[in-house]
């Protein structure tokens, strides 16, 4: 896919947007989940703090007692990171009794920040992060309570690892789900874009066919958005064709209109003095050669690429034979066409031109009989085997040509510029035309000793 293609552009934009949107969504959801989890974690710690406060009492001597049941074995496991500690606060001038703490803390302590750094909130609770001797990251809630016989500082700590594990597990599942969703979106997008833009590809292919001469208009049902485009393209093609046709017609008309004055000059030159007459004749002949050359060029340019052409062989051959019989009543013309419904892949004018020139040639030299034979034929060497071929042979019973004469006749006029109009066997135009259609021509000796012109032409055998 080209970088500048519409498909690629839309696909890149859609993909970039999907990735950005999904990453932002993932981050937002993750942040929200973390906030929620932390709040729940602190609520749990606060509830445990209350349980500890309710379970601990202080006797008049300032000794602490009580056995808080927090329903979590982690408080009894050393180094678990789940800790509660009750420190008796020294009364003014009194002595300090021993602290009460969960098994998990052992003889260690948690380093608490100063009150200036983390003050108590309105409910006289403060929360902060800390770490224990085992290196666990802790979330600590702390309060101070007056226990009738003295005050005590209550602290409950939870292992943040639990919180982080929970958030990480959630994030993992979230990212996996969003990644799958993202990949799915990109694939669906790509399919939608490819399907949506397929008509444009169709247009491009159809235009390619037009340029290759395989079609002459954009056909097919196009979506509403590009139907006007197709219509405009067709109108443009049609206009282009009309302009070319008009130009070609005008060249043709100009060339043909010159022929009458040339005829007048040629004929008038006979009444002139030898030198003048010769001059005029030579110039008129040159003019005629030029006119013919440009007419032939226009003709060949016109037929170029007309691969869709189809001409029924039988009516063309029969029409020509009828005409030749009229022109040469003393000759016998035979048309042998099999299969009768053969179709030649040529413009009718071109097929008739080939046929007309060859049959006229044959009639010129025939003693009594000219035979036109059409048969299906195998594809010639090096030609596309996917199309049909026909062989067309035109035989006369005239004097024929020798091998060197045949070679010479085929050589002459191989190139348009070298050919002289009105001379030779008319084979130059025949081989020019058949070459345009990838046909083959060769000369041979006919069964009756005359000349046999044999053509292989592309065909649609219907």
């Amino acid at each position: 896919m080209r970088a500048s293609s519409l498909t690629a552009r839309v696909l890149v934009i859609a993909t970039v947007w999907a990735v950005i949107a999904l990453v932002v969504i993932a981050l937002v959801i993750q942040a929200l989940y973390r906030t929620g989890s932390e709040r729940a974690f602190r609520d749990l710690l606060r509830a445990q703090l209350n349980s500890v406060i309710n379970a601990v009492s202080m006797d008049p001597e300032g000794r602490l007692s009580g056995d808080p049941e927090l329903g979590d074995l982690a408080f009894a496991r050393p180094g678990s990171g789940w800790i509660w500690i009750v420190d008796p606060l020294p009364a003014v001038g009194g002595k300090t009794a021993a602290r009460l703490a969960s098994v998990s803390i052992g003889n260690d302590d948690i380093a608490s920040p100063s009150l200036a750094a983390v003050p108590f909130d309105s409910r006289y609770i403060r929360a902060y992060s800390a770490s224990d001797a085992s290196g666990n990251a802790l979330e600590v809630v702390e309060t101070e309570v007056d226990l009738v016989n003295g005050a005590a500082r209550f602290r409950v700590a939870g292992n943040r690892e639990v919180l982080e594990d929970d958030v990480a597990a959630f994030s993992g599942r979230l990212f996996l789900a969003l990644a799958l969703f993202g990949i799915g979106s990109v694939v669906i997008n790509a399919l939608a874009i490819l399907y949506g833009l397929k008509p444009l590809d169709d247009v491009s292919r159809a235009l390619g066919r037009i340029r290759a001469g395989e079609a002459d208009a954009l056909t097919g049902a196009f979506p509403r958005e590009i139907a006007p485009l197709a219509g405009e393209v067709n109108a443009l093609i049609e206009m282009n064709r009309r302009v070319v046709d008009r130009a070609r017609m005008q060249v043709g008309n100009l060339a043909h209109s010159l022929k009458t004055p040339i005829a007048v000059l040629l004929n008038e030159s006979k009444d002139m003095t030898e030198a003048h007459g010769k001059l005029v004749r030579i110039q008129a002949d040159t003019m005629q050669a030029q006119v013919q050359t440009y007419l032939d060029r226009a003709r060949i340019a016109a037929q170029r690429g007309s691969v869709l052409a189809r001409t029924e062989a039988r009516p063309s051959i029969e029409r020509l034979v009828r005409v030749m019989r009229k022109l040469n009543p003393e000759l016998e013309f035979v048309a042998d066409i099999a299969p009768g419904n053969a179709i030649v892949s040529m413009e009718q004018q071109d097929f008739e031109e080939i046929l007309g020139n060859l049959v006229e040639n044959a009639a010129k030299f025939a003693r009594g009989r000219v035979e036109v034979r059409l048969r299906p034929a195998p594809a010639p060497d090096g030609a596309a085997a996917d199309r049909g071929w026909i062989s067309l042979s035109i035989d006369d019973d005239g004097p024929g040509l020798t091998e060197p004469q045949m070679a010479e006749a085929m050589k002459r006029g191989r190139r348009l510029d070298e050919s002289k109009p009105g001379t030779g066997l008319g084979l130059s135009i025949v081989s020019e035309i058949s070459a345009e259609y990838h046909g083959r021509i060769r000369l041979d000796r006919s069964a009756s000793g005359g000349l046999s012109a044999q053509l292989l032409l592309p065909s649609l055998l219907s």
Binding site: K259, T260, V264, N267, E268, E330, E352, E353
Partner: protein, 223 residues
């Protein structure tokens, strides 16, 4: 032999007419399709030379109308279009032969001669009747090998009769085929020409068919 030339180019028309007259033909000329069609439809011609590209009415239409109206004279078409499809449509419209432009007038003369000969059912350019021979190519007549000295009127008369050997040809028909449309016709002059021609030939091959006209035929066919 009377020929119609329909060609809009004045110079080409003149050249064709001059060459035809030189060959002993009587020629009428037209410069557009309407005029050409009218002449061809109302006057008897032995052949017509018809350009395809004509003003007013194109040559193919003129030809089709003639044929539809039952005018059967041989027609030679002149065309600048030399593709076979063009030639074939011309012939299909009823032409008997074609010459593509540019051409030498001699080519047209040869084709016209061949068309007239073919229309008369003759195979060769030389027509023989007993000792008399008519060379259509050279526009000459001879008796026993001796060239006859004939005026243009006498030649036309002999030529017409020899193209219709064995047929009875009326005086009117002879007048129509010997003079162009502008000539002040008098069928009595025909008798004078026939008399002179008989004298020059020396052999009595032209028979007067009372009340009908003349018939020329070789002695062994006479009966």
């Amino acid at each position: 032999m009377r020929i119609l030339v329909v060609e809009d180019d004045k110079d080409l028309n003149r050249q064709l007419c001059e060459a035809l007259v030189e060959q002993g033909y009587v020629v009428d000329r037209a410069f557009d399709g309407e005029e050409g069609h009218f002449l061809g439809d109302t006057e008897p011609y032995d052949a017509a030379i018809l350009d395809i590209g004509l003003p007013e009415m194109d040559g193919i239409t003129v030809l089709e109308k003639w044929r539809a109206e039952g005018r059967l004279m041989p027609v030679l078409i002149l065309t600048a279009r030399d593709r076979w499809s063009d030639k074939v449509s011309g012939i299909d419209a009823g032409a008997d032969d074609y010459v593509t432009k540019p051409f030498h007038v001699e080519e047209v003369l040869a084709r016209i001669r061949a068309l007239i000969r073919r229309a008369s059912g003759l195979a060769s350019s030389e027509i023989a009747c007993g000792p008399v021979r008519l060379d259509t190519k050279a526009s000459k007549a001879s008796v026993n090998g001796t060239t006859l000295k004939l005026t243009s009127h006498e030649f036309r008369l002999l030529s017409y009769l020899m193209h219709h050997l064995g047929e009875v040809v009326s005086r009117t028909e002879l007048v129509e085929h010997m003079y162009d449309q502008d000539f002040d016709r008098d069928s009595n002059t025909i008798e004078v020409f026939v008399g002179r021609l008989r004298k020059k030939i020396g052999v009595d091959l032209i028979e007067t068919v009372r009340g009908l006209g003349y018939r020329m035929q070789a002695p062994d066919n006479a009966g």
